[in-house]
């Protein structure tokens, strides 16, 4: 499942569904809203393009790390402290591929998927600067 959505997901159910034949290791990454003195996080995506980019990343990760299953769910909208922002579930035969595949996916998302975050505070808000100078379809 590759999705950009406002709602949360049941990670336990995703893990169960990720147990494809041959699975020996599952790695889940869950990015959550950190309480950096903020009241809320506002997330925005160029949805059609972002979904296509996530699909491309999932496909490339599957190929490179021989993954057996990939889920990427990125949430948008307003999220409170502690809420899930991004959930990545990957399964593989063995743990090195599962860890490496999971890490590859998050790094590629940070680099090139058109999603933005704004930290809302009592005094206003601040758009989180990207970790990479560029981005949007093409890693630089």
């Amino acid at each position: 499942m590759i999705a950009i959505q406002t709602g949360d997901v049941d990670i336990g159910a995703l893990i169960t569904a990720a147990k494809k034949p041959g699975t020996g290791a599952i790695v889940v990454f869950d990015g959550v809203v950190r309480d950096d003195g903020i009241t809320e996080m506002e997330l925005e995506a160029y949805e059609e393009v972002a979904v296509k980019e996530l699909e491309k990343i999932a496909k490339e990760a599957t190929r490179q790390f021989r993954l057996l299953h990939v889920d990427i769910i990125h949430r948008v909208g307003n999220l409170g402290v502690g809420e899930n922002i991004l959930i990545i579930v990957v399964s593989a035969g063995h743990r090195p591929e599962a860890y490496a595949g999971s890490r590859y996916i998050i790094e590629e998302i940070k680099k090139g998927v058109p999603i933005w975050k704004k930290e809302l505070t009592r005094d206003g808000g601040r758009w989180v600067p990207g970790e990479h100078g560029h981005g949007g379809g093409k890693p630089t």
């Binding site: 999603i115 933005w116 560029h134």
Partner: protein, 92 residues
């Protein structure tokens, strides 16, 4: 002919988004964005420097495909095109 311009994140806050605008044949991506962004000086300054050159961090897409900033002056827009203009991504 009509094109749609989508701004995201800070650019959206300054300039709005999903802007449908009529353009004449031969309009370039660069002139289109310049014109639309001039509706708000702060929006224009967010995207262009004082010489009217794109800030190097700006990202452009036409119909979901990346257009290099240097090609924007040579890229024409056509009826039904969707143009996206946004700052560096920060998902995850």
């Amino acid at each position: 002919m009509t094109v749609k311009i989508r701004f995201f994140a800070r650019f959206r806050e300054l300039l709005g988004t999903d802007i449908l605008t009529d353009v004449t044949a031969g309009t370039t991506l660069r002139s289109l964005i310049t014109t639309i962004s001039q509706r708000n000086p702060e929006g224009h300054a967010a995207i262009f420097d004082e010489n009217g050159t794109f800030h190097e961090f700006v990202i452009l897409m036409k119909n979901g495909k990346r257009i290099e900033l240097g090609d924007a002056a040579d890229t024409s827009v056509a009826d039904g095109d969707e143009i996206a203009v946004f700052p560096p991504v920060a998902g995850g």
